[in-house]
């Protein structure tokens, strides 16, 4: 089935309306696999999952299984998990350490740098007809290690990762950097994997900064499950941003985030009160971070989605998510939980217990999101339903380019009120991938929001 439509026709960004087809159509879904997941930078895993030579973690890019592996020389690779001979998965373990990937089917073997090590009966059956150097495991076109997070793309023409990330970098940093402001230093302490019957974009969009869906979580907010809940504090997290100005930012490459900027002269807000020792630890981190980062310490993250399907929760809780597509109405969610690798054990224990009660399919907060995504997908599949667009007009026109907020210039198309303009920006870019636009367009070249003078 070929894609005969123009994806741009589904996204009426001027009126803030988007066709339901993009969430339910198999044809659209196939086009996403062909044109989007083959080009965009995708999150594959974390360096802490493969610390030693020979360590591997099997991951996914789009619908396809890939192997993230550190070769014997210490270099990181991402390979398609499929034998070059008949396609059998060469690795069906989730993680481990190995010298060779052996295909169970006909026993072709590959070294950790992807090269063929052995083909049974090579001399008798293949000599002269097959050059082993041409039949290595299929490797991604580009790979980037950003503060321990490994990203990859199948498109050799793709811009380098930092160009792709653009000004969303500052916000992603808030999730990846140590709580006391040192760059990087996070580790993955576990990965939830679960499959749910909803389109992957519902999950991605949720984390672009859909603050408006707060009422979904009324039940946890009523009972209190946050890091100070034992002290009677309600809500699902401690509100350390009560004095802050919240910001919702859309970026040229399609990313969207919700962060906040503390006012000048702000003080530590008493949080993590379930345990005074943990509270003291985070007070210490706060002071250190302020000392290290200066004015930039006033940036605090909530959530974000890096185009197309990597999301983060920046602080309470703290994790990275991949929303792997399985079909138009089925998604495999992976949640990589993060802590500072050198945090005290007691802090890690406190955090992971909080993460588990908040996040993932057993998490008291996330369960309600999944209910929404499932039934939003299901109730959009009908013929009549598909004739009626979704509305994304919220706070339309309320954003501006690079505003100064609490004395700090904030890069991007930024709103200071709850908004859906990040979603509109996301889908504008999404349509351009499906319509096979060139990379300069995919990075926002034709988007008037980021080129104010050119549009005049």
């Amino acid at each position: 089935m070929s894609f005969t439509s123009r994806a741009a026709d589904y996204v009426d960004w001027k009126r803030g309306q988007i066709s339901r087809e993009i969430y339910v159509s198999e044809e659209v879904y196939r086009q996403e696999l062909e044109t989007l997941f083959t080009r965009a930078w995708l999150f594959v895993g974390h360096e802490s999952q493969i610390p030693n030579p020979g360590d591997f973690f099997t991951s996914r890019m789009g619908e396809e299984s890939v192997i993230l592996v550190r070769d014997k020389a210490g270099e990181i690779h991402v390979f398609l998990n499929s034998c070059r001979h008949r396609g059998m998965k060469v690795c069906r373990y989730e993680s481990g350490n190995t010298s060779l990937f052996t295909c169970p089917y006909h026993s072709w073997t590959y070294t950790t740098d992807g090269r063929i090590r052995g083909i049974p009966l090579y001399k008798a059956l293949y000599e002269g007809n097959l050059d082993r150097d041409d039949w290595s495991l299929i490797e991604v076109a580009k790979l980037h290690n950003y503060k321990g997070t490994i990203w990859a793309t199948w498109d050799p023409q793709a811009p380098d990762f930092l160009t792709y990330l653009g000004d969303a970098k500052l916000h992603l940093d808030q999730a990846l950097d140590c709580r006391d402001g040192r760059p990087g230093g996070s580790e993955v302490i576990g990965v939830h994997k679960w499959i749910f019957p909803a389109n992957w974009k519902f999950a991605a969009e949720n984390f672009l900064g859909d603050t408006y869906h707060n009422p979904s979580h009324r039940s946890v907010d009523m009972i209190g499950i946050g890091p100070s809940a034992l002290q009677g504090v309600k809500g699902r997290r401690d509100n350390e941003m009560e004095e802050a100005q919240h910001i919702w930012c859309s970026f040229p490459a399609g990313h969207g985030v919700h962060s906040a900027i503390q006012p000048e002269g702000y003080e530590f807000v008493d949080t993590f009160k379930n345990d005074p020792e943990i509270g003291q630890y985070f007070r210490h981190c706060h002071e250190e971070r302020k000392r290290r980062l200066g004015e930039n310490a006033r940036f605090l993250p909530f959530v974000g989605t890096l185009f197309p399907n990597t999301s983060y929760h920046g602080r309470q809780p703290r994790s990275l998510c991949s929303w792997h597509p399985h079909s138009a109405n089925e998604t495999e969610g992976w949640r990589f939980f993060l802590v500072d690798a050198d945090a005290p054990t007691k802090v890690k224990d406190f955090l992971r217990e909080y993460y588990m009660r908040y996040s993932g399919p057993a998490g008291m907060t996330e369960q309600d999101d999944l209910e929404n995504w499932l039934y939003a997908t299901r109730a959009s599949t009908g013929t009549i339903a598909r004739r009626h667009n979704f509305n994304y007009a919220q706070s339309m026109g309320a954003s501006s380019l690079n505003p100064v907020v609490n004395g700090i210039e904030v890069k991007g198309d930024v709103s200071l009120q709850v908004t859906e303009h990040m979603a509109v920006g996301f889908y504008r870019r999404w349509a351009q991938y499906l319509d096979r636009e060139p990379w300069d367009v995919l990075l926002g070249a034709g988007d008037e929001r980021f080129h104010a003078q050119a549009a005049e």
Binding site: Y93, W194, F196, R218, P361, A362, L370, L374, Y375
Partner: protein, 188 residues
């Protein structure tokens, strides 16, 4: 590692079968509470020092199962690894009536089978602390078409408090790698 049975197997004598019957009855009472949505009553069957644990299951190489197949209790991330306060919060959440993942409430049937007593202290005849193993099959259906089967093994430590059995430690071994459900909104 699923089962931890280092002690010798208890002798299958009348005292053993009487104890097993008592424990089966306890498990059936729990299931009845959950399936008839008497969640607060169910909480009363849990010890104040409860640990409630469900690991994630990993696909690992032969020979590594003991060490790496299951996520570890009190280390890293699992599906559940919590105390009675957290389990009670889950009940409290359902009782708000606005926990949309359980509103409207799911229909569940908790089936318990293969119950065995593994250890009994101080003796089978006078047991006040025991460990058990069993199998569970939990059927969940919600709204119209959503149906899930959760099947696995359960290893419990029960302790008598004021003459009544309470669940002190529950280890739930769900036989799935990628969770085949959108949520784990039921109890095990």
């Amino acid at each position: 590692m699923d089962a931890v049975q280092t002690d010798p197997k208890l002798r299958r004598d009348p005292a053993y079968f009487a104890l097993r019957a008592e424990i089966e009855e306890f498990f059936y009472d729990e299931a009845e509470c959950l399936d008839t949505r008497r969640f607060e009553e169910w909480l009363g069957m849990l010890h104040e020092d409860l640990r409630y644990f469900m690991p994630m299951r990993h696909n690992v190489k032969f020979g590594q199962h003991d060490e790496r197949e299951n996520s570890r209790e009190d280390y890293g991330i699992s599906w559940f690894n919590e105390d009675k306060w957290t389990v009670s919060k889950r009940v409290e959440q359902i009782l708000t009536g606005v926990h949309y993942a359980e509103e409207p409430l799911s229909r569940t049937t908790h089936m318990i089978t293969n119950v065995q007593v593994q250890t009994a202290l101080p003796s089978v005849e006078a047991a006040d602390e025991i460990t058990t193993s069993c199998r569970f099959l939990t059927y969940l259906n919600r709204v119209e078409y959503e149906t899930y089967f959760f099947v696995g093994k359960r290893y419990d430590r029960l302790k008598k408090v004021g003459g009544e059995w309470k669940v002190l430690h529950r280890r739930i071994i769900l036989d799935q790698n990628v969770l085949q459900a959108k949520n784990l909104s039921t109890f095990f």
